[in-house]
């Protein structure tokens, strides 16, 4: 462990009932860093924060503070303070007594308390509010008091759980700037939880992107934005065009049914990949020599600073483009992308693979459902098998009862000419589907697979 780590999470897992909330989290936080845990609701970011603050205990793994395990230390003895979502001020105490709460418990002398309360109130620009009833304050003012109440105890780490979520946009922007300045001035470590990607990009030294209890990517805001490691991160942070592609060789990639120069190497030759292009990185040109592909403008919306356009490319893909100049709907445009702006990612998966068992010669049990399949030589009833199903071969049905297994649309991604869906079945399996049909997140679906589309291999049972 390096000396500058203040917090280390090692192989931390947490379950509620049979639901896994955090799955083998490894994370370190450096002294004085502003770290943001970013992800959609239910990704485990708040649980991670609560593990650090001590309101929850991990089922597995350990949490170290300055290299020492703190599992046995109750929250009231940990040198951290939290700014809670919706502030959690004590309504029966005034501003002064709220802030002095921690110091009084520590039996700090009266005049010292007074000095320190005055100092933090000045820090959060709330001087002269000491005697106010906290319930008479606005949301933004309550937030400032909550921050002051945490900071007055001079914690080693300030934990912030979506502290700005309840504020309106303008106030949120102001508070972001102030928080950043406070962090610079105080030099203590901030751990910040949010689902707002813009907030994370604005505030953080380091962003930890989480989804479904796992860390997806750790990096600086610039890394995370420009070089997302997978489709989830690319989709979650900012706007993006995510497309199916193929690495032809080093520095050459095919997508949109065209070939492009890029800067990525080491993927191998003729390897399927995912490609991310940010909408502001697709450029219009009038120079035929520069043009890489053409498209028709389908819609154009004014967004304040820029225009947001959707175009159909010559090979039938839909792209989002942001530009300062509008192009009329219906016009033919010439487009190009800089090699630097093409982000190539390993495909996380290329097909569905399930371990299952033959029920009889023409039926296989996978995902706790029995699917019909074609008889195959050398595979008999009772044999353990591996079933391989291509994304585009999974049929989704409107009625859950019509499918062999039932599930819901868990995550969806538009890939220019089709949707890539993650279906979570009622039994807890993930199945990935490529489809042209439009589904919404949370739609209940039945899952069916044609017998000819299930490819079986015999599997050695270990």
């Amino acid at each position: 462990m390096a000396d500058d780590h203040i917090i280390d999470l090692r192989h931390v897992s947490k379950r509620f009932g049979d639901k896994t909330i955090l799955d083998d989290i490894n994370l370190y936080i450096r002294k004085g860093e502003f770290v943001t845990l970013l992800g959609p609701s239910g990704c485990g970011k708040t649980t991670t924060l609560r593990l650090i603050s001590g309101f929850l205990a991990p089922d597995e793994g350990e949490i170290l503070l300055d290299g020492k395990d703190i599992s046995a230390i109750p929250p009231y003895k940990r040198p951290f303070n939290t700014v809670f979502q919706r502030y959690a001020l004590f309504p029966h105490l005034d501003v002064y007594d709220n802030i002095a709460f921690g110091l009084k418990l520590q039996k700090v002398p009266q005049d010292e308390i007074e000095k320190r309360v005055k100092r933090v109130l000045k820090l959060v620009s709330m001087s002269d509010y000491e005697d106010r009833d906290v319930e008479s304050l606005s949301g933004g003012q309550q937030q400032r008091v909550a921050i002051a109440r945490a900071l007055v105890n001079q914690p080693k780490i300030l934990l912030l759980d979506e502290p700005l979520a309840a504020l309106d946009l303008k106030m949120r922007k102001d508070m972001q700037i102030e928080l950043k300045e406070m962090h610079k001035k105080l030099g203590i470590t901030f751990i910040y939880v949010t689902h707002d990607q813009e907030e994370a990009l604005t505030l953080s030294d380091t962003i930890v992107v989480m989804n479904e209890g796992k860390i997806q990517q750790i990096g600086t805001p610039i890394d995370i934005y420009n070089e997302p490691v997978n489709c989830f991160v690319a989709d979650f942070i900012g706007e993006s065009n995510i497309l199916k592609g193929r690495m032809i060789r080093d520095r050459r990639v095919a997508f949109l049914k065209h070939e492009f120069d890029c800067v990525d190497e080491g993927f191998g030759e003729d390897v399927p990949v995912d490609v991310v292009v940010r909408p502001e990185d697709i450029y219009f040109t009038t120079d035929p020599a520069k043009c890489q592909f053409t498209a028709t403008v389908k819609s154009c919306t004014f967004k304040g600073v820029h225009y947001e356009m959707f175009v159909d490319t010559d090979k039938g893909y839909e792209l989002m483009i942001q530009d300062y100049d509008p192009y009329p709907v219906g016009s033919e445009v010439m487009l190009y992308i800089d090699p630097d702006d093409i982000q190539v990612m390993h495909k996380e998966r290329t097909r569905n693979v399930f371990d299952g068992k033959m029920v009889d010669e023409t039926h296989v049990e996978i995902m706790d459902g029995v699917f019909e399949c074609l008889p195959q030589e050398g595979i008999a009833a009772g044999d353990p098998v591996r079933a391989v199903i291509r994304f585009e071969d999974v049929d989704l049905l409107d009625n859950q009862e019509d499918g062999v297994v039932a599930g819901e649309v868990h995550f969806l991604l538009y890939k220019g000419d089709h949707y890539h869906l993650t279906i979570l079945t009622d039994e807890g399996y993930h199945i990935w589907v490529d489809t042209n049909d439009i589904w919404d997140k949370g739609d209940l679906v039945g899952v069916n697979i044609a017998p000819k589309d299930i490819k079986l291999e015999k599997r050695d049972e270990a």
């Binding site: 003895k77 919706r86 309504p91 921690g102």
Partner: protein, 267 residues
């Protein structure tokens, strides 16, 4: 015209409701033994009440004393039990929460006679000698649900994070309870206490069945026996008048306080 009838109706109703009380209040200022005979204005009965200079005075004053003691003890116990129970119920989820809330409501709807008789049978069955303690226990059984019901809404209004916020700022769980949780629940606890106290003051049936045979009397059982002996002790008239006035003042104070709190909230 319509308005006149509406007004008249209201006043008639109020008159009917309060006539008995007014009647007693008026006759508390005369010395006559028989209620309804006006023998001239006098404050003798009030004087007797406070000096204890009257026939059967000791048992009347003892009954008042018992009533207050029992009500106080039962209300304190109910408040403690009910608050803890409310916190427990608040933290339950789903079905078990519904079930426990339902069970909590039973003692309030259950007719007093049945509560009284069943408690009487229980104490007999357990060979529990009946007296002061059994009456207090019996009053706790119907007082506690009122406390639970007045504390529960305070719990759900409370920001669920404030207990954790206290721990986070260095309070031990018991400090967090004393310095944060209880101050938050206090208004609910106080109204629960007042309810349990008045319920106990008011009770006749349950007390009657659980007081045993040691001659323990509360005000309500005293009046009951006294009336059966033939004629009420005259000093009861000023006593009832005073109790009525006391309750009236209490109610006014509570209402004014709530009004003030509401205005503070709006400001």
């Amino acid at each position: 015209m319509k308005k006149f009838f509406a007004q008249a109706y209201l006043w008639l109703l109020l008159l009917l409701l309060y006539a008995p009380l007014v009647f007693i209040a008026i006759f508390s200022f005369t010395e006559s033994k028989v209620l309804g005979n006006w023998t001239g204005f006098s404050t003798r009965l009030y004087a007797n009440l406070f000096t204890g200079n009257m026939q059967g005075s000791s048992s009347l004053l003892a009954a008042v004393q018992n009533t207050l003691l029992i009500a106080l003890a039962a209300a304190i116990l109910s408040t403690l039990l009910g608050t803890v129970a409310a916190v427990g119920i608040h933290n339950l989820r789903g079905r078990s929460k519904q079930a426990v809330t339902f069970v909590n409501n039973i003692p309030m709807i259950n007719p007093d006679v049945i509560t009284g008789v069943s408690l009487f049978l229980l104490f007999v069955f357990l060979h529990f000698s009946q007296g002061f303690l059994t009456v207090i226990l019996a009053h706790v059984t119907f007082g506690t649900p009122y406390v639970v019901l007045s504390v529960l809404p305070k719990l759900s209004q409370m920001n669920p994070n404030i207990y954790e916020a206290a721990l986070d700022l260095g309070a031990t769980p018991s400090q967090a309870l004393r310095k944060v949780l209880i101050p938050q629940l206090k208004p609910g606890m106080i109204s629960g206490f007042i309810l349990a106290f008045t319920m106990s003051l008011d009770d006749f049936a349950v007390t009657f069945f659980t007081r045993g045979t040691i001659g323990l009397d509360t005000l309500s059982t005293f009046i009951y026996t006294d009336a059966r002996k033939g004629g009420l002790t005259p000093e009861l008239r000023p006593l009832m008048t005073l109790i009525f006035l006391l309750i009236l003042v209490l109610l006014a104070v509570i209402n004014l306080r709530q009004e003030k709190l509401k205005q503070l909230h709006k400001a």
